[in-house]
């Protein structure tokens, strides 16, 4: 049987060989699939092309969900940035605009890349494209970073899972933000250890986050969690790059997420039976939606 990988093994492998995490992940994938690295790279590049398309559509006016419950937030944020000096910094707001845009593309039945899920698909492409823009990195750096993110996601998937229905939103938006933080820190020149710290710092902030979508749609609160998840990833990467360490290592944070996920009641795992999904406003929205369905 294949042994479960851990973050500390990924970091150790990278440190031993003096290479970034992405290289360890890419080589492992080539070994597991028994194919050449260049084929795997090519496939990831194609996925990045789809992500880029969704990023473009995301911030364009007219990007609205099928239900009309969410829409054009990406445009609103980019317009805001043109007029005002964002309180949380240019990068975070740009990443938030991109992330929410992609999440709305998903809710409008557009084409996206699940990362790790469809509900959380905005965070990773938004963070990586923002970092690339901020540090002037080439496309290859983004594709490399996707391997780092995927490696982290695989560890999370093996030890805790990435489904909101199983572990809550911590496992969707939390995992995405964690993956993005690690990848962003590495892309900006952080060591493998710093990158892992970035992931831990981010994920700790999502622990306990439940999955409580209004009217069962992947819209409220999902798309905004994408925006803020992207911002958290960038801040966590900055903190790690500044040398701050997570006292609890990422592997243990992931284990904690699993345990918390198991303890979250079913009513808060995608069933829309509690949480935000049953607030008076949510009920009102649901009623309106039902009337629409029955027309």
């Amino acid at each position: 049987m294949r042994r479960k990988i851990t973050i500390s093994e990924l970091v150790a492998a990278a440190e031993q060989r003096g290479c970034p995490i992405w290289q360890v992940v890419l080589e492992r994938e080539a070994r597991l699939q028994g194919t050449e690295r260049k084929n795997i790279w090519q496939k990831m590049k194609e996925y990045w092309m789809v992500m880029k398309e969704s990023l473009d559509v995301g911030i364009k006016p007219g990007n609205r969900s099928l239900s009309g419950l969410v829409g054009e937030e990406g445009t609103m944020l980019t317009r805001y940035m043109e007029k005002a000096k964002p309180l949380s910094g240019y990068g975070s707001v740009l990443a938030a605009a991109k992330a929410i845009g992609v999440a709305v593309v998903n809710a409008s039945q557009g084409r996206i890349v699940a990362a790790p899920t469809a509900g959380s698909c905005g965070i990773l492409p938004a963070v990586l494209s923002t970092v690339a823009e901020e540090i002037g990195a080439a496309e290859d750096a983004v594709i490399s970073a996707l391997f780092t993110a995927a490696g982290v996601g695989m560890v999370i998937d093996e030890h805790a899972g990435t489904a909101g229905a199983k572990s809550g939103c911590q496992a969707e938006c939390g995992s995405a933000s964690c993956m993005a933080a690690v990848a962003a820190a590495e892309m900006a020149g952080g060591t493998p250890r710093q990158a892992a710290n970035a992931g831990a710092l981010s994920l700790k902030n999502f622990l306990g986050l439940v999955c409580d979508p209004v009217a069962g749609l992947v819209e409220i609160p999902c798309v905004k969690r994408n925006a803020i998840g992207a911002g958290v990833a960038l801040l966590a990467a900055d903190m790690a790059l500044a040398g701050i360490e997570s006292k609890i290592p990422l592997d243990e944070v992931i284990q904690a997420m699993k345990d918390i996920g198991d303890a979250i009641p079913a009513s808060l795992k995608e069933t829309s039976l509690a949480g935000l999904a049953v607030t008076p406003t949510a009920r009102e929205i649901e009623k309106r939606m039902n009337e629409l369905e029955e027309r």
Partner: protein, 219 residues
């Protein structure tokens, strides 16, 4: 769950908002189209459970129709499927089932083809874009349709099964699973055969021509 490839984490490329509401629904539509075996002019679709509850918001209606039109689950035109169907002059009606509970994400599809041929199919989306077909015309089935599947309607007489299996074997096609199901009509049965690879049209024709075989559907 444990991912065996980086592309299970980054990926798949998909049409939102969720694989069970979009990819699964497209697949059910695709299968209904294959069962009909010709273009349709009229579709009556009944939605159950959560398919009924949020079909507009999730775009399940568009995805089912996209599947009926023959689109694949990553087609960017899925969200325009209803308009496309309207432009083609196709008649499509949706009905919401109340109180009857099947699987949470289930649709019944009644199709009328251009020749007047009619079929019935009941399918459920079971997550991750996978589907389970539980009824085809008068037959209760459980078809996952993950592998190429052949459904052979036949008269219940000795020797039919052997003849069908023989044709597949002679053409080097390996049967991985086979089930038989009866209908309420005396002497009428359906073979559901899963195989390791798709069956060429020529082989389907040969099977259709076998004695006691009344119809063959390949998906």
């Amino acid at each position: 769950m444990s991912a065996r490839s980086v592309f299970e984490i980054i990926g798949p490329v998909m049409i939102g908002p969720s694989s069970s509401h979009t990819a699964g629904a497209v697949r059910i539509g695709n299968i209904a189209r294959a069962v009909l075996g010709e273009d349709f002019r009229r579709a009556e679709i009944t939605l159950y459970g959560s398919f009924a509850k949020t079909y507009r918001g999730h775009g399940t209606d568009r995805a089912l129709v996209a599947g009926l039109l023959g689109m694949s689950d990553d087609d960017c035109r899925i969200r325009d499927a209803l308009n496309i169907a309207a432009t083609l002059g196709l008649e499509i009606r949706f009905r919401l089932a109340k109180g009857e509970e099947f699987h949470p994400n289930t649709a019944d599809i009644e199709l009328t083809g251009v020749s007047g041929k009619r079929i019935f199919l009941r399918g459920s989306s079971v997550g991750g874009g996978n589907v389970l077909i539980t009824r085809i015309n008068q037959y209760e089935v459980s078809v996952w349709a993950k592998n190429p599947t052949l459904m052979v309607e036949h008269v219940d007489r000795p020797g039919v099964i052997g003849r069908v299996a023989g044709v597949l074997g002679n053409n080097g096609i390996n049967i991985t699973e086979m089930r038989l199901t009866g209908s309420n009509r005396e002497g009428e049965k359906l073979m559901v055969i899963e195989m390791d690879r798709a069956v060429p049209d020529k082989v389907v024709e040969t099977i259709t021509g076998l004695p006691d075989v009344t119809a063959v559907i390949g998906i």
